[in-house]
Symmetry: C2
Subunit: 454 residues, 2 copies
């Protein structure tokens, strides 16, 4: 990684190939599932961004360099800033363009966002997210909750086929938690949710203390909240675990039934997901199903992929727009994967280097390359007519597996890993499927881990 | 287009499909030709950006919202701004990471950039460019000039197969112009170049006046510069046209020979290109081959795709990095194409809508969709179990051509354009190749134009 400006990562060519694999896998799966691409502008009004709460520390404002005034003196309607997620711009776009969209509107958005926070492993000031959302007008059927989770599972199933780690999906339901809190007499469930959300980082003792001091709960209420958050389970047993706590409330029952229904459907389609009632998702716009997920072997990063159901993403003049979505932190996983030693077999897309005997033969080499390219095989022409040994070394440095030797008397192609050289025709030869595009090189440490878990 | 913030375009779903076609075509061709993907951070120091000249009017500075100082009082090393092109960040990256790159380094970069200029048709404040460059250490063979032009020609050949307009490539050579100016006794050829660059917009009379007043040329010298700029031609005749002007200079001869060599190679590979000695490219870092291109039927937009050879993209402590590149203004062409009525057949990627008879049949529909998706066919499951007529209308609104009717007694699929309905199996049925992805709908006006030119 190039580190000339802290928090603004730039990947070297081979590293970028790994990021592209993740981005392309997301896009292919999203499109196969009928999500339409959307890209928002990078810029929002500060007023729009501020609807999500206090943002002054996080947001990068922008202004023409020539501007003499400090931002604080610019009229609010003229203050612009870079978006810090993809949900706020999407919500604004849906309300602005509702008349031109077909609902339920299914969009994917793979784009950068910016936050002025302190950089650390997997946390950057400039980062890429891959989001999908399904948004309806005034109502949206519950089956879409399952759908977005199946789509993201499929992304990681495909990444796992390339040797990248799987994720563990953990689900909860906001109604279940809120209903439970109300059932034990809590009057401000939002504050409790926000404190329970900190369990992971602060630990149970601190959270119990906060629940008493900040949310005004009794010791017993705080312990019951903790007992609920400790529940883990499958579709089969989670309802029993909740019932064992002996609390009853209509909203609790509704949330629990929804959670069991979603888990049952996910299991039926073979997705690895389980209930984790500590999942709270701090943002207050979630109203039903919520989920987080950690990447196997990278649990310390926290959730890399999360989202949920919201009753109202945005409100227009006449309508509300309920939805459900999931967001993958692409930079969040790519940075740590690279640090852990995951890499790619090549720094270029090419599978073949076409060698050049002398500069007079460059035209011939170019025609060979174009014939291969027309058949979907990425081919590079050697930059100079150096000795063949040097040209082969150049291919080796780039990770390009094949070197082509053009000849009017019969072409040959060499696999430089094995040294095997065979006769070949540019309009017929095909590389092995595994060599068509760069592949993931899994670090030994991850292979060891895999063997242990078998 | 959504126009809520002037100069920051956001495409509606079907419009975005057209932009994606352009972006994907660029990427596929760039990768087939062995260019590696690179993405720079969006942010540079103001000092880095300012190396290209006066930028205060153009550049968007960024700062944390909480910052109280106006930019002008921020220490220069802490001033950050959004990049206004992809060349400056690339040059900075190459120098910073030269030790980790393999040269010649071939990169493509498809990314947004920002300029605070007045928005107009095809000119935005936020816009996407697609650039390729090949950069060497201390030297770079001349054949790469031809290569980048062939790659961009291939991009437009493929776009033309989808019904989008071709471009006309127009070439010049900086040495030819500078040598000519020196040959007639001009002392400051850079100023002359910058004035000649304005011929398109200002017209010959004004430019001649400027050449006399601003560059201190005699009337005769100014007329000779104009005569040179008026030369158009092919590889066969351009040298003769230049010779006819009766000026002689070593640098002129060298530039002319280079131009003829590049044109000859381009013609040999079937690329449509011609000499246009008015092409100047205002930026002073070009040192050899330079090119511009207009899109057929959209000549009033000016050049949409341009670049050239530079002796020194950047200077490190020990080395210089010569290169050659070309840059396509993606937003520059997509906006006007959409305004001219070009559109796409669908607003979603899906080829098939799988209908749902009742909510109990949703699982079955989902399995059909997954089987199709696993075979690369984008499929959408109907959002509700409405009457089939309503589900078909939904598909029609999205532009989805096929509706699937799952049944345990035998599936059927209907082409809703023709009404034809046939038996089909999800693990075997294939849509016609033309229906796999959305296709371009060419406006009647452009078809009429095509017929006239035949």
């Amino acid at each position: 990684m190039s580190k000339s400006l802290s928090g603004f990562p730039e990947w070297l060519p081979a590293q970028r190939q790994l990021e592209l694999l993740v981005l392309d896998t997301c896009r292919v799966v999203f499109e196969l599932n009928g999500f339409a691409s959307f890209e928002s502008r990078a810029v929002e009004s500060v007023a729009t961004l501020a609807r999500k709460g206090d943002i002054t520390k996080e947001v990068y404002a922008i202004a023409r360099l020539a501007q003499e005034k400090p931002f604080s003196e610019v009229a609010p309607e003229d203050q612009l800033a870079l978006h810090f997620d993809l949900t706020v711009p999407f919500a604004r776009f849906v309300v602005e363009n509702a008349g031109k969209l077909d609902f339920p509107f299914r969009r994917y958005q793979i784009q950068k966002a910016w936050r002025g926070e302190r950089p650390q492993e997997g946390r950057y000031r400039e980062f890429t997210q891959a989001d999908i959302d399904i948004v309806g007008v005034d109502e949206l059927p519950a089956h879409h909750d399952v759908e977005v989770l199946l789509v993201m599972s499929e992304v990681f199933n495909r990444l796992a086929q390339h040797g990248l780690p799987q994720i563990d999906l953990r689900l909860n339901n906001r109604k279940l938690s809120e209903g439970f809190y109300r059932g034990i007499g809590v009057e401000d469930p939002d504050t409790v949710l926000q404190l329970v959300d900190k369990l992971d980082k602060a630990g149970p003792e601190k959270v119990v203390t906060w629940l008493e001091e900040k949310a005004g709960l009794s010791k017993e209420q705080a312990q019951q909240c903790l007992a609920l958050a400790n529940i883990r389970g499958s579709a089969q047993d989670v309802a029993q675990h909740v019932a064992d706590l002996g609390v009853s409330h209509e909203m609790l029952d509704e949330g629990c039934a929804e959670l069991v229904a979603v888990l049952t459907e996910l299991e039926a389609h073979g997705a690895a997901a389980s209930a984790d009632l500590s999942v709270a998702r701090g943002l207050d716009y979630y109203t039903g199903t919520v989920y987080e997920s950690t990447m196997q072997g990278f649990e310390s990063l926290g959730s890399v992929c999360s989202g949920g159901r919201y009753a109202s993403l945005a409100k227009g003049q006449k309508n509300t727009y309920p939805g459900v979505g999931i967001s993958l932190g692409v930079s969040r996983i790519v940075g740590p994967l690279l640090s852990a030693g995951y890499s790619m077999s090549r720094s270029v897309p090419s599978c073949v280097l076409v060698s050049v005997a002398t500069e007079e033969h460059r035209g011939q080499a170019r025609r060979v390359a174009r014939t291969l390219q027309a058949r979907g095989i990425s081919a590079l022409v050697a930059p100079t007519a150096a000795k063949f040994g040097k040209q082969i070394k150049y291919a080796d440095r780039l990770g390009v597996p094949f070197v082509w030797f053009p000849s009017s008397e019969g072409h040959e192609v060499k696999d430089i890993r094995t040294g095997e050289q065979v006769a070949a025709e540019p309009d017929q030869w095909r590389p092995p499927l595994a060599d068509v595009v760069p592949s993931v090189v899994v670090p030994q440490s991850a292979k060891d881990l895999d063997t242990e878990s078998e």
